[in-house]
Symmetry: C2
Subunit: 514 residues, 2 copies
């Protein structure tokens, strides 16, 4: 094999032409990968197992139910048939859940400010994005952590805007330098909107913040009507405190978001072994039950309202009680969730791609790929936390975010899968090469035509031979990631007009430069 | 989520007990992962696509056939119905292939020198191991490459012997310091056998080497009878030069191996876009056709002889003509091959887990995981090149080999999948926790019982919080990998008796210390 390789690298002739061909930008429909490709080749659960989990979730809703709903939620859910018990728990007869499933929105579109970034959530269509509430930003240059700021969040938005393979921007880290919580929400919104035209996810910290935040959002959208026509921000609602309790305030926030026309993410973030069963089946079942309760809630308030089924069970290291997101167990949890979403035919999301490693090292690489590729192969509509996330969600790394473009691009190539037809089977070509040709496929018209359409080339991933690598001063992955980050930040521009930017900053205190 | 995390890490109480429980060694049947677990949840090809590939392969064998068989092979294959054409190509009517499939060995066992390492190759049972012919060893400490030696090969064998999740040792690198080719084969055998009791793979460079190498192997096995009863070495035969040509000398080597009782790997290593079609379907189809021809050959010589269906199509970077193993395309190629093996019910192997990166960095992590986990999920019996392989097969890294234990362990956890039953659904436990208990699952008997049986814990992968990590002087993954490597090498011992070692070294020139 080595011999063959060496022979190939001596060819040389056509290489410059091929490199040039590759450098030309591809029209969208010729790109080898794009947002919303369909997965579904991985099924970590059998159909029977999916049905078992569904049945157990229904039973849990019927017999255990959920505590701590706000009065408004109790009224809404009792109004559609839920039973409020003397123990303060809302229980859901099977028919109530089935009615909600009948009404629930399917095939929803999460919009970008630029429609080119709209995401259709149906079937097994896959999208990758950021998410989380990291409190640190990871500095690979100094091998250290520091508190994340509004500027970091804005920089993250600007960077992901430049990355083809990161499709949405749910706020990945908290602006720790903004001490007032309402100001923090405002800064999170504007740091994101001024940095990216892709779909944005927020997580309002208080029900009373929704109205003032909507004022800012309307201003950014060009008025309430324009906002309601194309809502480009969704809200992540941690509407339950697992196991099986509604998060009272978050439910109120959710109600306010729905009234404001903002799509909601019904987020159940149980920790397997702590706030959810330690078994994968049990954790998925509990998250499913909780999100079904959320679905009843949303559809009682507004039938058919766009809601994302957010079963996000997290892994835990049972030796220490610490969260761990980079494990194989986590990849299985999120993959199984994707199948539950598909069983219900609901738009769904879960966590994938986060690492437990503190730095963008080899561990980060294997952990981020494991759950990212498995979630994608499972056809998860929204893979949250897919890029840049370290230290079991505590740290967000901009250098790692840049590298996620390659990592997720590779995962997406796997999601795209294999086309089998007369052309790709290439029997005619084989006959030509073997019986009449020069004995190899290099440089045939067919091979060159497919070079761009079928192959994903990494931007920073290095494919040089050891000799080339040595002659090129041994390029370092992380150093190059930092250089690309700096280049993007230097070239990026504020994605709202100067006039709007001025008006926003006159009205609100912003803690970052755009 | 951060709040919950911080609360948990303050618990402290049971942690020491849990860490101690974890430290106790587990009986084999309690281990969360083990060699030979069944995959098969990933199907990158539909059943119809598998059938299309099969039909195209049969047609290729019937109409294009293979050139360059040695006379012995022509005689054997014509004897079972193949047609030798005036163009020098052997063509295979469908019935000839079906007859071979009818006779072919299934459910074979590749043996270790220690029977505890025997590998049953059937169905979707998955095993990971090394392989390749790297010409460099990668030194992460100096960020450099140097030529690989017999000592490196022996060290690699000793290291992998200590790694639970690396199941077999096909020779991953070439002893560049042994200039005589027969001596190199001898050194490769003894460097491996004296370092590991797991199954070993060789790749003899010349048909005339088989007899003298068997003398050494008989000596190591305790005589020919003992060898034939438990052959613990298989030979990797690159029996074809793709596209569709037999490799004359390698075929003769293969015949000699079969007569010597050594299981053979029918290895077709086409490069997609160069020596195989650039499409995934085409490359898999061609490899399938070539290996079917090999199957006819083997079963014509010795019906039912143990042979591994080695469809190893490799990826190529079409821009440069360089091999690339770390791509998503590669993961799809090997996953599709696993399905072809299962379609035929034959023991099979393909390449997974090799990286294009020169060093054990983040790129290496994501590339190694991508194809390793997908190959495993696809139920590939033998994932070759799964550990330690860099620079598109040109470099082998002992530090990376050590880390592969964690990386493959995680992939294996995903292969194991999800158990769904009354116990794992945990409805009773949920009722207890929610309705009567303290509201969480931590420390329940059920949770603790599953802590070891269901969870895979990394050895070097770091799950500390940023605070702990800082307090522990920021442990570095690669530094720790090197430390583990040194510890294994310091503690390892020669795995043949001192007497046998002395006799071997008296008879043969060995270029390494054991």
């Amino acid at each position: 094999m080595t011999d063959v390789l060496e022979k190939k690298s001596r060819r040389g002739g056509g290489r410059a032409a091929r490199v040039a061909a590759r450098a030309a930008a591809l029209p969208e429909d010729m790109r080898p990968i794009r947002a919303g490709m369909e997965g579904g080749t991985l099924k970590v659960l059998s159909e029977a197992q999916v049905a078992q989990i569904h049945e157990a979730a229904l039973k849990a809703l019927e017999t255990i139910g959920l505590a701590d709903a706000p009065q408004s939620g109790i009224d809404l859910m009792v109004g559609v048939g839920a039973i409020f018990g003397t123990d303060g728990r809302l229980r859901f007869p099977r028919q109530v859940v089935e009615d909600a499933l009948g009404k629930a929105a399917r095939n929803i579109t999460l919009m970008g400010r630029d429609p080119v970034h709209d995401m259709e959530l149906s079937g097994t269509k896959v999208h990758y994005g950021t998410a989380g509430a990291a409190v640190h930003v990871v500095d690979s240059a100094t091998n250290s952590y520091r508190e994340s700021t509004a500027q970091d969040l804005h920089d993250a938005a600007r960077i992901m805007q430049a990355l083809d393979n990161v499709h949405f921007f749910q706020r990945p880290m908290v602006c720790r330098d903004v001490l007032d919580n309402l100001e923090m929400d405002m800064n999170s919104i504007y740091a994101s909107v001024s940095g990216t035209t892709k779909h944005i996810g927020m997580s309002f910290s208080d029900p009373t913040h929704v109205a003032p935040c909507m004022d800012l959002i309307h201003m950014l959208a060009g008025g309430e009507e324009a906002w309601r026509a194309r809502p480009f921000i969704s809200n992540s609602n941690c509407f339950v405190v697992p196991p099986m309790k509604f998060a009272t305030e978050s439910c109120e926030t959710m109600e306010n978001c729905i009234r404001a026309g903002m799509p909601v993410l019904l987020l159940s973030a149980g920790m397997s072994g702590a706030t959810a069963p330690s078994t994968i089946a049990g954790a998925v079942m509990q998250a499913t039950a909780e999100c079904l309760a959320g679905l009843v809630y949303v559809n009682a308030l507004s039938p058919g309202y766009p809601a994302i089924f957010g079963t996000w069970p997290f892994g835990l290291d049972l030796r220490t009680g610490a969260m761990c997101l980079g494990s194989g167990e986590q990849a299985l949890l999120s993959s199984a969730c994707a199948q539950m979403h598909q069983f219900y035919g609901l738009p769904g999301g879960a966590a994938g791609g986060a690492s437990d490693s503190k730095m963008p090292d080899m561990q980060a690489g294997w952990e981020q790929m494991c759950s990212n590729v498995m979630a994608g192969l499972s056809g998860l509509n929204l893979v949250y936390e897919a890029a840049g996330m370290h230290a079991s969600l505590l740290g967000f790394c901009l250098d790692s975010l840049v590298l996620a473009d390659d990592l997720i691009g590779q995962a997406m190539r796997c999601v795209r899968g294999i086309e089998v037809n007369e052309e790709t089977l290439a029997l005619d070509q084989m006959a030509e090469v073997c019986l009449g040709g020069n004995g190899h496929y290099l440089g045939t018209d067919k091979t060159l035509a497919l070079m761009q359409r079928d192959f994903v080339y990494p931007t920073l991933g290095n494919r040089m031979s050891p000799k080339e690598w040595d002659e090129n001063q041994k390029p370092d992955l992380i150093v190059n990631a930092r250089a690309r980050k700096e280049k993007i930040l230097a070239e990026g521009r504020c994605l709202v007009t100067p006039d709007l930017d001025r008006r926003v900053r006159e009205k609100y205190a912003m803690y970052f430069e755009s």
